[in-house]
């Protein structure tokens, strides 16, 4: 090489190397069946969660037309499976959310003026009549939908599984494959530090995973707007926790990938550790009375719980027939955030140190 070229060329810094690796690793994910497969899984999960209730006659929203309003004294309260139930001259609509603007009440088939009744959704959807209802037949027509919270909860509960799949697909063999597939012989004898390689690869794995999780949350949000006319106010907080959980489990997957010598072992351990082993420990805690606050999978529960208002608290219930006491431990949001962050940082640091020292033998 000429002296001129020597001087003209400037070796990228360690930080400048990261996006170079990131870009080409991302290309790998974009061209692999794993990304397509995981997006397909996300789409399938969304579709099943949405379609199955529709197919079984439990849609998330709809219109009840001319539903009979049973009006009777306090002693004769009738409780229909859906529609209205009422004590005395009040009716209770047995739906999650009633769209008030659509509510129409009829007395003997004639529309009842709005001045003759009031609607309240606190403590249930109650129609309170201002006059005696004895001797009349009352019906109501209204649009209704599930609460934003319950609709979002249907989907968010499955984000955990999707995140584990992403960590397995995009992280579990990211490092070990360089050794097993011998691509390390191509990339390592270059003027690039292993830490830059690691961070570039990690960034690409996270990008691919975030894409999948975003598709999942995005589709769930879109369906929420379409079906229940809005989005739970904590939905984005749940998404933020999902991203943090993704970061933590991806770091664990990279740590396993750095420790293992074969891709199969790394993939299997990553999946079963996150899907089975740690959740079993969490579950044992519920029956044995210890709170696995330090478990990353226990902390992941915050993704769903954050949608519930008020935020749930720990509870204990006795099951006399089984002779056990069941502790329903609820992860605290702040602690969970710290635990997931601790897992991410610790696993990334250990992985980088091990990767730097890992030798290309065999």
């Amino acid at each position: 090489m000429s002296e001129q070229q020597h001087h003209a060329r400037k070796l990228p810094t360690d930080i400048e190397h990261i996006p170079i690796v990131w870009r080409y690793e991302l290309l790998k994910h974009f061209r692999s069946w794993r990304l397509i497969g995981s997006i397909a899984i996300a789409a399938l999960v969304i579709a099943l969660i949405f379609v199955i209730p529709l197919a079984t006659g439990n849609p998330p929203s709809g219109t009840d037309k001319a539903v009979k309003l049973f009006v009777s004294g306090p002693q004769g309260i009738s409780i229909p499976s859906q529609g209205l139930l009422l004590p005395g001259n009040a009716g209770l609509i047995n739906r999650s959310v009633v769209v008030v603007s659509s509510l129409e009440v009829f007395q003997d088939g004639v529309r009842e003026p709005a001045a003759n009744w009031t609607f309240s959704s606190s403590g249930g959807n109650i129609i309170q009549f201002t006059h005696d209802t004895t001797g009349h037949t009352y019906t109501a027509t209204y649009r209704w939908h599930d609460t934003l919270e319950s609709f979002a909860s249907r989907f968010v509960g499955f984000a955990n599984l999707l995140i584990i799949i992403c960590a397995t697909f995009f992280g579990a063999d990211a490092i070990v494959s360089e050794y097993q597939a011998r691509t390390g012989y191509l990339i390592f004898p270059n003027p690039i530090r292993r830490v830059s390689l690691f961070l570039g690869k990690f960034g690409a794995s996270m990008t691919a995973s975030i894409l999948v999780i975003s598709v999942f949350y995005g589709a769930a949000a879109a369906l929420s707007f379409i079906s229940v006319s809005g989005l739970d106010k904590n939905f984005l907080t749940s998404f933020a926790f999902a991203l943090e959980y993704m970061l933590a489990v991806m770091a664990i997957a990279y740590l396993i990938s750095t420790l293992f010598k074969g891709t199969t072992g790394a993939i299997v351990l990553t999946f079963f550790l996150l899907f089975l082993i740690l959740p079993i420990i969490d579950a044992v805690g519920s029956t044995s009375g210890f709170r696995a606050w330090w478990s990353v999978t226990f902390s992941a529960g915050v993704m769903s719980n954050i949608l519930i208002i008020p935020y749930p608290v720990d509870s204990v219930s006795d099951i006399p027939s089984a002779g056990i006491t069941y502790h329903n431990y609820i992860p605290d949001p702040a602690t969970s955030a710290l635990v997931m962050l601790a897992y991410a940082i610790t696993a990334i640091v250990i992985s980088m140190v091990l990767f730097r020292r890992k030798e290309m033998t065999g």
């Binding site: 011998r182 691509t183 003027p191």
Partner: protein, 310 residues
Amino acid sequence: MAMIELENLTKNFGPIKAVDSLTLSVDEGLTVGFLGPNGAGKTTTIKILTDLISATSGRAMLQGINVLTDPKKALTNVGAVVETPEFYPYLTPIETLAYLGRIRGMHTKEIKDRTKEVIRQVKLEQWTTTRIGKFSKGMKQRLAIGQALLHEPDILILDEPTSGLDPRGMVEVRGIIKELKKEKYTIFMSSHLLGEVQEVCDKAALIDHGKLLIYDTLEKLGTLIKVLSLEVMCLGDVSDSVLSKVRAFSNVKEVARATSNTFVVSLEGGPEERADLLQQIISTGVKVTGFTTVGVPLESLYMDLVKDSR
């Protein structure tokens, strides 16, 4: 100027010394063959030089920079082919070279120009946009050499560059290396193919059990060769009595009939002994039509030295 310097380089794998206080220096512009039997420590040495593994002790310098302490800087001007590398199967040769070029600090235009050049050099023009996952081993090996040349490094480190190739592939790769020699690259290549080393190298280093046995120019090594195999072709059949007479000549270690008119003599000694032998054979009355060395001359030296070290 020494482009590659190994100083008391040692690598232990548990109780096994894979490289044992190896000291070696390769000057600028030379092509040096790194010889040794399987398990001698050749690949281990090259892996240390290319930051694939660490050393237990000693120094491994590339252009005066210790690869053990500053691998990024030391490898800036190095192109390497270690073992038979695998490529990312989802990339094409052009994308692979662009990736490696960017890592090595090359500019976009330079990458484009050099990619075209090395693709031509390694004869992969028709495969530039095919994903490497579909490549044969020979094509991958050629691309491996291409990527090593991409940034026109001062030093080329090649670990058994013809390993696993078919005869045609071996000839092609040796041709590429010979062309590179003309371009004044400093080439350090390991091989156990002695003919290959003899064909392309200026100097050869022989190691066994991680220790350097000998390191010199091929001319000087040639003078150390003790036993040569010579093929003698005659006009007409050669009788057994002639072979018996040849066996009795001084410095002759062994005589074996090859065909009815050809026999092979193992001779101890140099050019003078060879000339004496020819005269003595002619004196028996046979008409000699051919008198040539067979096999690789370096082979006998290699066998002697390796045998002595074991």
